[in-house]
Amino acid sequence: MTDEVSRPPQLHRIVPVGEDGLLVEFAAEISPTINRAVRRLSTALEQSGLTGVLEIVPAYRSLLVSFDSRLVELSPLRAAITAIAETLEDQPLPPSRLFRLPTVYGGSYGPDLDHVCNASGLAADEVIDLFSRQRFPVCCLGFLCCLAYLGGVPHPLQLPRRATPRLRVPAGAVGIANAQAVVLPIELPSGFHYLGRTFVSLYDPQQFPPTPIRPGDVVEFPAVSAEAAQEWTGQFPGVCDVDRISNSGPGLADDHSG
């Protein structure tokens, strides 16, 4: 991909949300280039310490800037964000870390493995091999309890969501829908297809930050036995190979298609 040498993505628009928010949008697509621009802008805004800005919430292709309207007016803030967005080329990002979450696949741990095999035409071994070798970039955190939105599901495994969502899927379940993968931080309803389960904890409200994972990191789900997976019960995942993964280089964050 050539996005690193071409001009970074332009802002699509900045629109007010409610009385004290600005939604800053890039192009409406799920792409590593766009998401990197979002993270760059988010980092730049955090570092610029704009007066009156209370919080910056980055997502896939947009970020929400909430502010105290007693301290800053809307138009100067909008102008400041636009100006900062012009300088993103030089904006460094925090280092990308690799997290390995030991995962047990199939059976009661991955109730949709058979369905994914049927839909993709692959054998169970092939699905597990393909999925467990993949590195999934963390696009953003959100929904509830630090749910990490992961991109990069390989093409043969890209399936539409289940027609009928499950009402209860346990914490640690690892699932896919379209190009997205998730690993659930708590029990949630979900329409994703679940391939396996990890017992690593990804969320602890007694810690700050409440999850070790941040946007721009990379996650792997290596296949292990149920016994080995359960040894991790309740533990935060370790960081692997911080230096091996670079945000500026090619690869990783780029091999996830929208």
Binding site: E19, P58, A59, R61, P185, P205
Partner: protein, 314 residues
């Protein structure tokens, strides 16, 4: 000596809530906190606490608690037929309960939730800087029979301090037909002209499938131009999202921080408290206002709170 409350019956649902845990949405952590912040703030001021101190939020009916030691309390919010030792308890007014006195919420008259403040504030474990219960996220749990809730050490009452009461004119008026002001956007271009018109003129019924995460409504469907799915983006508290069935959902204080449905409007901050009062089957109409009008309303609310903070100070 320990003073506080013992829960004899948690009723339909009772949780500890305070002003919430703002500014964690980038982690996917909702702010939580009392749905009706005005009632929480006033209840605290009435007993001499800071406005955002931790108190109880109880829903509908059934909560019964007992004073442990002598405690000063205030009940605000909806009228849930609170009884103090079998007699009607004063509302929006502080009073002293003697050890063993009982406070019971018999049945709802109007409004859906009440706040109970305890002088000193309810001592409870903090998660990410707040005592607000968010049971789903492992941040404490709904209260249970037998729970003992101690007060933080309250400041001693000054000899000239007295019981306090909020002027009736300042109390939210009971209704079952709400008018909620919204600012249109950010995805208004995803709705047809008729869809926007429907949203701003129809009455929507509050669904029984409504909770602290979000209020679902039932009414004429809001028409979209090309479906309601968007690439998930941040959903602040008060977002009015419209899923495929066209029935607006208002995201509240336990609501998700990101969502994939187009959002037609945002409820202005000073009208969010109203969702803490609405009952299933109540109706709501949405009125579009300018950002300036929303800022004026927010400023008026802050002035009132500043005035009450001064008026009720020890």
């Amino acid at each position: 000596m320990l003073t506080g409350f013992r829960i004899l019956d948690p009723g339909w649902q009772t949780t500890i809530q305070d002003e919430g845990r703002p500014r964690l949405r980038r982690f996917g952590i909702p702010c939580s906190g009392a749905l009706d912040q005005f009632s929480l703030q006033v209840s605290n001021l009435l007993v001499g606490n800071r406005p955002g101190a931790a108190g109880l939020e109880t829903v509908l009916q059934g909560l019964c608690l007992e004073a442990v030691g002598s405690v000063i309390v205030a009940v605000t919010g909806g009228d849930l037929s609170a009884e103090w030792n079998g007699q009607p308890a004063p509302l929006w007014t502080s009073f002293r309960m003697a050890s063993g006195d009982r406070l019971r919420f018999r049945c709802h008259q109007n409004g859906c939730r009440a706040c109970v403040a305890l002088r000193g504030g309810v001592a409870a474990p903090q998660y990410l800087g707040s005592c607000s219960t968010f049971a789903r996220g492992g941040m404490w749990r709904n209260l249970q029979r037998g729970d003992l809730l101690p007060a933080n050490d309250p400041a001693p009452l000054s000899p000239w301090s007295q019981m306090r009461s909020l002027a009736p004119a300042l109390r939210p008026r009971p209704t079952s037909d709400y008018r909620v002001r919204v600012i249109i956007g950010p995805h208004q271009d995803r709705f047809t002209h008729d869809g926007l018109h429907t949203f701003l003129t129809a009455r929507y019924r509050i669904s029984s499938r409504s909770d602290r995460q979000g209020f679902r409504t039932e009414g004429p469907p809001v028409a979209t131009t090309h479906g309601s799915d968007i690439i998930s983006d941040p959903t602040p508290v008060g977002s009015v999202q419209v899923p495929g069935d066209g029935q607006p959902i208002i995201l509240l204080r336990d609501g998700q921080t990101t969502g994939g449905y187009a959002r037609i409007a945002a409820v202005i901050s000073s009208d969010l408290d109203q969702f803490g009062r609405m009952m299933p089957a109540d109706t709501v109409r949405f009125e579009s206002v300018s950002r300036e009008a929303a800022l004026d309303a927010a400023a008026r609310r802050r002035r009132l709170l500043r005035y009450l903070t001064a008026a009720f100070a020890d």
